[in-house]
Every structure is written in C-alpha cells, then in structure tokens.
Amino acid sequence: MELTADKIKELVVKPENKVYTKTPLLTDKTLSYCPGCGHGVAHRILMELVEEMGLENDTIGIAPVGCSVLAYEFMNVDMQEAAHGRAPALATAIKRLWPNKFVFSYQGDGDLAAIGGNETLHTCNRGENITIIFINNGIYGMTGGQMAPTTIPGMRTSTSPYGRDVQMMGYPLKMTEIVAMLPGTYYVSRQAVYSAKHVRKAKKAIKKAIEAQLEGKGTSFVEIVSNCNSGWKMTPVKANQWLEENMLDYYHLGDIKVDGKLVKEIV
C-alpha cells in the first residue's frame, strides 16, 4: 500500500484519534505571521476562550496597526480595524454603546505604548469595561524592526543599530505596571506564550480578564511578552531562548493586579 498524503489522512484523521481541533473561531486563512511568531498563538488562545465561553455572537474585537493589522482576517468574529494606537478609543465607544458585548482590543507595543500611549492611559484610567491584549515583542515588527518604547537596553534594532542607549533613547516603558497603578484597572497580568506551560498560564490569565469584563469590573489588561524572530533576526528557537534570557529579566511574568488590588511590588 502506497502511503499518499490522502491515504495517511484517511488512516489517521479519525474522530477517535483527534486530540486537538482548531477552533472554528479562527478562519481557514493562512496566517500572515512569520513562522515562529507569538502572534499566532495569542490569536489562538483568545479565540478558543471566546468559543469556550460561548461569546461568539457577543464579541466585538479591534485589530490595531502593526503585524496584527489583519487580525480581523483570522479571528472569526465581528471586528473593527483601528488607526495606529487608537484601538482603546474605539473600544470605549463600542462598549458604552453596546454594554452587553464582550469588547477587546489586540495591540502591539508600538501601537499601545508609543503612538497610542495617551489612549491607553485614559481608557484604563476611566476604567472602561473592556479587555486589552497587549503583545510586547520589544520592537516594531510590521515596519521592519525599528526600536519600540519597550525595546530593552542594549537591544539592537534598525533604529538603534548599536543597541538601545538609554541616555540617548530613553528607558523601556513598562506600560503594564503603569496601568496597574490606575484605579480604573481591575485585572492586570503579564504572560508569555513561548512554551506550552506559558501558553496554558496565558490562557488562564486571558480567561480571568474576560470574566472581569463580563462581571463589569473595569479594565482588564493582559500583556504577552512575545517574540519577533524576523525583527530580532533570530531563528524561532533562538528568539524564544533570547526572550527567556533577556526580556523576562526586565518584564517579570505573573499577575500584577487581581480583583482591583496590586499583588506585586512594582519595580
């Protein structure tokens, strides 16, 4: 018997053999992300939760400008695409006009911490009852690897080719710690998706964030420290190692604020 691809499919893909199925809330479009990029994993756990929590018909998501500008092509729910940095402003109005919908924004670090810093601060400060998913890869992935506000000291990017010099270029901005200090935020957490263990934890955190919104508690905010293997100019494996060895020293993982109370000393 010749084992063609079709034959293998026929033999292996049986309901009793299936251990994992892609959620129907991810479309069949091929992801535009580079192989190894954390964006795809973050998309998956977010959409799995929307499905598992029965929110498919009650979700309005917002894609940013950044590599995830086309998130609406992949996340199979009603979506809006925002101008660079303005997703929280869109979310503010959407949630106020449709208080019973689950409203989330999905934003990169350039989007959320640089050009949209003001919208992020004020949305969290008003305690808008929305969920912000913040993908921090320490770089502007989409535009070809320029320095972001989150780029760690010494890190090389196309606009800090000799490494980020904090005297000249300023210090990495910890937006997550900043928004945790605002009374409007209810749940604030920093997670990662570079290993199976971390993916499971990140999913739990996003679930908590969604629950906070469904209970009307105020802003919930989950940062995901992610990789940009293309922008960092590393293989996916090397990028994940580098993330663990360098990014996590600066961006400590774990819950920062739970039930409206700081659970971690902010440093």
């Binding site: 729910v77 695409e81 101008a83 402003a89 106020r96």
Partner: protein
C-alpha cells in the same frame, strides 16, 4: 409649531443632537464651541434618552470613539473648532475609507496654527477638498442661522446613514455664539438595539448574527486592484451625492444682474448688504450654498447663461470658495472676492463698496 426658545447656536446644536436620537457624543473642549459639551453634560441626556456623552482625552480620541461607535451602526456625533478638527483629520479619513456614518460639527475659528478664538471660515478647503489623506469627500452643510444649527442635525444624520459617509456641519464662531429664536423639532426616539441590527446589521459590528456573514469594519485593502475598485465605488457614491444632494438658497435673484455668493455668517452679512445696494437701485441677489460639497455649480452656471454681469464671493477667509465659483463661472463672467480674516467681521457697507468697486465699476 415646535417649541420656541432663544438660544445660542452651539446650544441649539446640542439640544438638536439629543432630539435627533443620537446615541453618543464624544468631544474635547475648545473655544468657540465648548458650550456644546457643557450643555450636554448639564442636560444629562443619558437620563433623558439613554444617549452617551463622554469628554474624551483629546480630539484624536474623540474621533476614534466616533469610528468605533459608528462601526456598531449607532448615531454618533462630535463637535470641535478648527485646531481640534485638524487633529481629527486622520480619523475622518479612516471613517470615509471605512464608509462610516457620523456627524461632525466644526465651529470655525481663525488660523493658521492656534490662531484666534474669533470667528472665521478658513477651513473651507479642509472641509470640502479633503483635509485628511486619500481621495475622499465629506458631505458638508453650512448653517447660516441658529435655526439651521438645529435643523441640520437630523438632516446630517439622515444623509450620513443614507450614504454611509461622514457629514460635516461647517459652522463658524458667529453662528455658534450668537443668540436667535429657534423652533425646536420634536424629539426623534433613539433606535433600539433591535432597530440598529435591523437597519445596519448587514455591515455594522453588532456581534455575529447566527446564519449571517460576520461584519468587518476596515479601510485597509492591500490588493491594488480591489483598492482601486474601492476608490471607484466611493466616487460612484460621491457622484450620486452630486446628483441628488445639492442644496442652496437664493434671495432676490429673479431680476438680479449681479450676484453675491456667500455661505454661513458671511451670507447673513451679505443679505443686509443686498438690502442696502437695492435701496441704491443696484440689482443684486444672493446665492447661498447650503451644501458646500456637493457644490451648487449648476446654479451659478444658469445665472451665467442668463447673462449675469458678475459675481462677488464674500468669505471670512482669504478667498477659498471663490475657487469653486470660478470653476462654475469660468471666464464667462466676472468673479471677484471680498473678505476679512483673523476674526475681523466684514460690514454690510464694506460689502456694498466691494460690489461697486470690484464688480460694477471694476
């Protein structure tokens, strides 16, 4: 007859926003239009009709709140004045690109830059020729009275949803600040969520509807051929506006040999100027464009065909609308400009003088 009140233009606009059944107002204070958000906050429409009123952290946030709100199929509105409108331009371009309905009020003040808080009409180009990036048009309505500050609100919402396009009401500091008698229209109830879904559910993000296509709001399209098609589709829509939505008013034009062309506060001054000129036996009439886009080119062309001897445009700027008048008149009659800037208001006497020296005697 509706309820009569003596009101400022800005207040009449704010009251009309509530009565028109708006779902959300998002704005940032700036003179000379801060009365709008002050009136709304004092009126508490969230108790009266359930309308949302929110003071945003900037005009940038406000216009993007409009984008989000409009994207859900609800009636959203903002107001600002010139510098704030400049800050909104990126968002306005996005809304035109994503074909989102909304109402934008600009109570113009003098520029450029921080300029002055005094009245002006120097945002004509910005409102009618673009302002933001890309090929797009706003429908632009120019109120000339406190009454129209009220009446144009439901009209603007109707047009915004008819064409799924932002509509700008281009007012100015004179109309916004002056007080006049206004007859308020009866309140139009806000759409219920079910009505929003029924009317706009085919395009708005109201949450996926079982058995229907999901909705996406975006202005992005990376495929050049489909982006070109999108631009053509937009222009087909603008073409329809040009065919169906041109509005204007004529005063004393039946026997007129000369014409003043003016909109907004300049048209009020010009109306008085026409009275003065007619008392001197000058046969002059007023053409007041009400829609600045689409512009009443044909109305002007008809006057030329009937032998008009000249057109004076009167504006509170350095001469912007005059370019549209010239586009209509071409070289077939005389076209001249008179105006003041920086918050200086032309007097009717000055307008008559300009008519005599630049058009009749010139």
């Amino acid at each position: 007859m509706g309820e009569l009140r003596l009101m400022k233009g800005n207040e009449a606009f704010a009251e009309a926003v509530i009565r028109a059944g708006a779902d959300g107002y998002f704005g940032y204070p700036i003179t000379p239009q801060s009365e709008v958000i002050e009136y709304l906050m004092a009126e508490k429409p969230y108790e009266r009709t359930g309308m949302v009123v929110l003071q945003a952290e900037s005009e940038l946030a406000a216009i993007n709140m409009l984008y989000g709100g409009a994207g859900t199929g609800k009636k959203v509105v903002t107001s600002s004045s010139s510098p704030g409108i400049s800050l909104m331009m990126e968002g306005i371009s996005y809304m035109a690109g994503a074909e989102l309905p909304c109402v934008l009020m600009n109570v113009q003040r003098g520029g450029p830059g921080l300029g002055t808080i005094q009245p002006s009409q120097s945002d004509y180009f910005q409102a009618t020729k673009g302002g933001g990036h890309g090929d797009y048009r706003l429908l632009v309505l120019a109120p000339a009275s406190v009454q129209e500050m009220s009446d144009f609100v439901p009209l603007a919402f109707d047009l915004a949803f008819k064409y799924r396009n932002p509509v700008m009401i281009l007012s100015d500091g004179v109309i916004g600040q002056m007080m006049e008698k206004v007859e308020l229209f009866d309140s139009i109830p806000r759409w219920t969520d079910e009505e929003v879904i029924e009317k706009n559910g085919d395009w708005a993000t109201v949450g996926k509807r079982p058995g229907k296509e999901r909705n996406i709001i975006t202005s992005l399209d990376l495929d050049p051929y489909s982006m070109e098609k999108h631009n053509h589709d937009l222009f087909a829509k603008y073409q329809k506006m040009e065919e169906e939505e041109v509005r204007w008013e004529e005063i004393n034009t039946e026997d007129a040999e000369y014409f003043i062309v003016a909109y907004g506060s300049a048209s009020r001054i010009s109306q008085k100027a026409i009275e003065l000129a007619r008392a001197e036996g000058i046969k002059v009439g007023l053409i007041r464009p009400i829609t600045l886009y689409p512009y009443p080119y044909k109305v002007l062309q008809e006057k030329v065909e009937k032998g008009a001897k000249g057109f004076l445009t009167v504006e509170l700027n350095m001469g912007q609308m005059i370019e549209d008048v010239k586009l209509a008149v071409k070289d077939n009659s005389k076209v001249e400009f008179f105006g003041h800037v920086g918050g200086v208001i032309p007097t009717p006497e000055e307008v008559v003088e300009a008519l005599k020296t630049k058009i009749i005697g010139g």
